[in-house]
């Protein structure tokens, strides 16, 4: 009897493909999410992040960088859907009916920008780095806010304002980043044209693409009628297309998808859209999104950067708080609820990581510098952010029952 008679058996050690590791990552994340909810009473997201961080290249390396790259496609889809859904929930008409919300939003983002900028300048950062950090820190993470709102089935004024301000903050940060690209062009080439052209291309291009997609989507929906299941499939397909076209044209994926959502609602005068809930079916994508985000976190250099990280988090928080509390009453909210909105706006990690990636493609050196200053703040807020948002929604009495 020879061994080759048993050739149908696998070799030893068994060679698993990357798919297996993706499965392991998913399974571990889901279990950790449930454990976090059940025993620690923490948001499930924190469990996904922790597993991602623990298995990721930075700590144990069970999940290799190559595996993460494989997941990139799913992450893009998840981000696209979340941004689109957030955009859909934002009602531009509200800004017209309650103009103090415009003031609140602008002041909240503006004060957090200048507070972070001031802190970075005090810490002797280069002007461009300080500005870049302040731009990114304006953003609020749509993924965390949307996921917490959905997981808690939250509804009410805190929830609605949180979603509105989150969407606007993403817009400010994305536009800020585009302007920053213009500045970098100027430093690089010393000419005005690319300095103006680059941000204009990003902002106008992304908006125009979004408007075209929104009109196309509405045209399709008008043709197909108000059938929820059908609309859902069509919109998922359109979101995939939007992500693909925006990336291919070098436009801002953030800005395109968010505007696609906002405009498809704003243009929908006859209300052809049935309400869109990606809900439970998008759950798996959310797990992947946060597990991968966890795996992208860095845990080195704590000693050096801890002060900077904490200072950024604090400056951002204080800037937002000042605006929200100041304008609470004119915008028709109690001071207590305004302070809860402020807490809810804390998360920023996912969107900050995305913006770092954008910058990395354009200017690796600056991205590295930026990442050194910002990564700790990102890591702190990755874990603190979901807790803050959950606390705000629960304490405000806006969380639904159960779960």
């Amino acid at each position: 009897m020879t061994l080759d008679q048993f050739g149908f058996l696998p070799g030893w050690p068994v060679a698993f493909g990357q798919l297996a590791w993706i499965g392991v990552l998913l399974l571990a994340s889901i279990l950790a999410g449930e454990a976090a909810r059940k025993w620690l009473r923490l948001p499930r997201i924190v469990g996904y992040l922790a597993v991602g961080a623990a298995l990721g290249p930075e700590l144990t390396g069970v999940v290799a960088a190559a595996t993460l790259a494989e997941l990139r496609l799913l992450v893009d889809i998840a981000v696209g859907l979340l941004l689109f859904e957030l955009g859909q929930r934002v009602d531009l008409g509200w800004l017209r009916r309650n103009p103090w919300l415009v003031a609140t939003s602008v002041l909240e983002a503006g004060l957090s920008f200048f507070a972070v900028l001031a802190v970075m300048m005090l810490l002797d950062a280069r002007a461009i780095v300080a500005t870049a950090v302040a731009v990114v820190a304006m953003a609020t993470s749509p993924a965390v806010v949307m996921t917490m709102v959905k997981e808690l089935r939250a509804q009410g004024q805190i929830t609605e304002r949180l979603l509105l301000l989150t969407a606007l903050n993403v817009v400010y940060a994305a536009v800020g980043l585009a302007v920053l690209f213009g500045w970098l062009n100027f430093e690089r080439h010393g000419t005005w044209l690319p300095m103006l052209a680059h941000p204009l291309y990003l902002i106008l291009g992304s908006t125009a693409l979004a408007a075209a997609l929104a009109l196309a989507a509405l045209g399709l929906l008008r043709l197909l009628g108000r059938r929820p299941g059908f609309q859902f499939s069509v919109l998922v397909a359109m979101v995939l297309l939007a992500v693909a076209i925006a990336s291919a044209l070098g436009l801002s994926v953030l800005l395109t998808l968010l505007s696609f959502g906002v405009l498809s609602r704003a243009f929908d005068r006859a209300r052809h859209f049935v309400s869109l809930r990606f809900g439970e079916s998008a759950m798996l994508l959310v797990v992947i999104l946060f597990a991968v985000a966890g795996a992208s976190l860095e845990f080195t250099g704590w000693g050096v950067a801890l002060g900077t990280g904490l200072a950024i988090v604090a400056a951002r928080f204080v800037g937002k708080a000042a605006a929200l509390l100041l304008l609470a009453r004119p915008s028709a909210l109690s001071v207590r609820k305004a302070s809860l909105v402020n807490l809810g706006l804390m998360p920023m990690s996912g969107v900050a990581l995305l913006m770092l990636q954008d910058l990395l493609r354009f200017d690796p050196k600056l991205a590295a510098e930026l990442s050194a200053s910002l990564m700790l703040a990102i890591t702190i807020l990755a874990f603190l952010g979901p807790l803050a948002t959950e606390f705000a929604l629960r304490r405000g009495g806006e969380a639904g029952e159960g779960r």
Partner: protein, 373 residues
């Protein structure tokens, strides 16, 4: 002597309470918002009152005391305008309608006040199913005995009120086939239905004391009757109306009830008797199920006719009283719905038929309520 003294009030004065739906603008589902909405309305002086109700997705507005339809309507309009302006700033919608067409009661949160907490504990899912929206019309009475006469006399017209006001054909996402599905939810409560046939206030007070002695009730609020006396206000309260889709309709319905009250008190056309209540549940069901097409049996003549015919005949009888009360305009409106337009339930069914979307229906309901369309 019972503590349940009937406080006299000026006869035939009117007051209206409306329970309203608070909705989000995204998908027109019920949403939490009563606390902020009330806080915002209270920042400015406004007529009437705006109060929380059993859930965060409901507010109740109430008017002051009126003698005539005109001023009542004016006050309702200005309360509505204050409420709609506040809702705009909070990105909310406010709408009439007896029930939300597709809301799922399991998702409603009970309002954070001791009495509501108590109700929710006592009635469990019934309390949540109670997210239904009604109009209450108060009519002033000089003393307890005439209040009880009026209460029983009015019961003859309960099918009219139900059929004319019906605005809850859809509930929990389906067409219930009823014009007023709301009243079916009220039936589930043990103390719903009709008041006992008691004609003298002293006897009523004794009845109440007995019920309180059994500890079945603590206050008049525990009775969910179709019409109940409210001794501390000196009124009877008619509670079978679904909240209509417009304040104009709410005011006209109140004026119709007021005019019938005058007819009953002045002419005393018929004696009160238990026979009236033999046909009561039958007639009431017909009104809930079929609206104005429903069949109505007259307890005295035993004749059958449609509720529509009976309303039109009643309007004829009321003409002189309408002149006295300056309610002729309101009654003309009632006649127009009865002859031509139908009730709100039929309007709602036609909107749904055209759009095939309950969300769209609720959106249109909110537009009608705002008075801007």
């Amino acid at each position: 002597m019972s503590e349940l003294a009937f406080k006299p009030s000026q006869p035939l004065t009117l007051g209206v309470e409306l329970e309203l739906q608070i909705l989000n603008r995204r998908d027109c589902d019920l949403t939490r918002g009563a606390t902020e909405l009330i806080a915002l309305v209270e920042r400015r002086a406004h007529p009437g009152e705006v109060k929380p109700e059993i859930t965060e997705s409901m507010v109740e507005v109430s008017t002051g005391i009126h003698e005539r339809h005109g001023p009542l309507l004016a006050e309702l309009r200005s309360i509505r305008d204050a409420l709609v302006a506040a809702a705009d700033r909070l990105n909310l919608l406010v709408a009439g309608g007896g029930a939300h067409p597709f809301q799922h009661w399991s998702e409603q949160q009970i309002f954070d006040r001791p009495r509501f907490k108590m109700l929710s504990q006592l009635y469990g899912y019934l309390a949540k199913q109670f997210t239904i929206f009604g109009q209450h019309v108060h009519i002033g009475c000089a003393e307890g005995d005439s209040a009880l006469y009026l209460l029983h006399g009015m019961s003859r017209y309960v099918p009219h009120f139900i059929a004319l006001a019906a605005s809850s054909p859809y509930h929990q996402g389906v067409d219930t086939a009823f014009d007023s599905a709301r009243l079916n939810a009220v039936f589930a409560f043990p103390l719903s239905g009709r008041a006992p046939l008691v004609e003298r206030w002293d006897d009523f007070a004794a009845y109440f004391d007995k019920m309180a002695g059994y500890r079945i009730v603590e206050s008049m609020k525990d009775f969910y009757w179709d019409i109940r006396p409210k001794p501390e206000c000196g009124t009877i309260e008619i509670r079978v109306f679904d909240t209509p889709l417009t304040v104009e309709k709410a005011a006209a319905l109140a004026a119709y009830a007021q005019t019938i009250a005058r007819y009953l008190l002045v002419e005393r056309p018929r004696p009160v008797g238990e026979d009236m209540y033999l046909v009561y549940n039958y007639n009431r069901f017909q009104a809930c199920r079929f609206g104005l097409e429903g069949n109505l049996i007259d307890p005295w003549s035993q004749s059958h006719r449609s509720i529509r015919e009976d309303v039109l005949e009643t309007l004829g009888v009321l003409a002189t009283h309408a002149r006295e009360l300056e309610s002729a305009e309101a009654l003309a409106e009632v006649e127009r719905w009865t002859r031509r337009d139908g009730n709100d339930a039929s309007w709602m069914r036609s909107v749904y038929a055209a759009s095939e979307s309950l969300e769209e229906l609720v959106w249109q309901q909110a537009r009608r309520w705002s008075g801007r369309s």
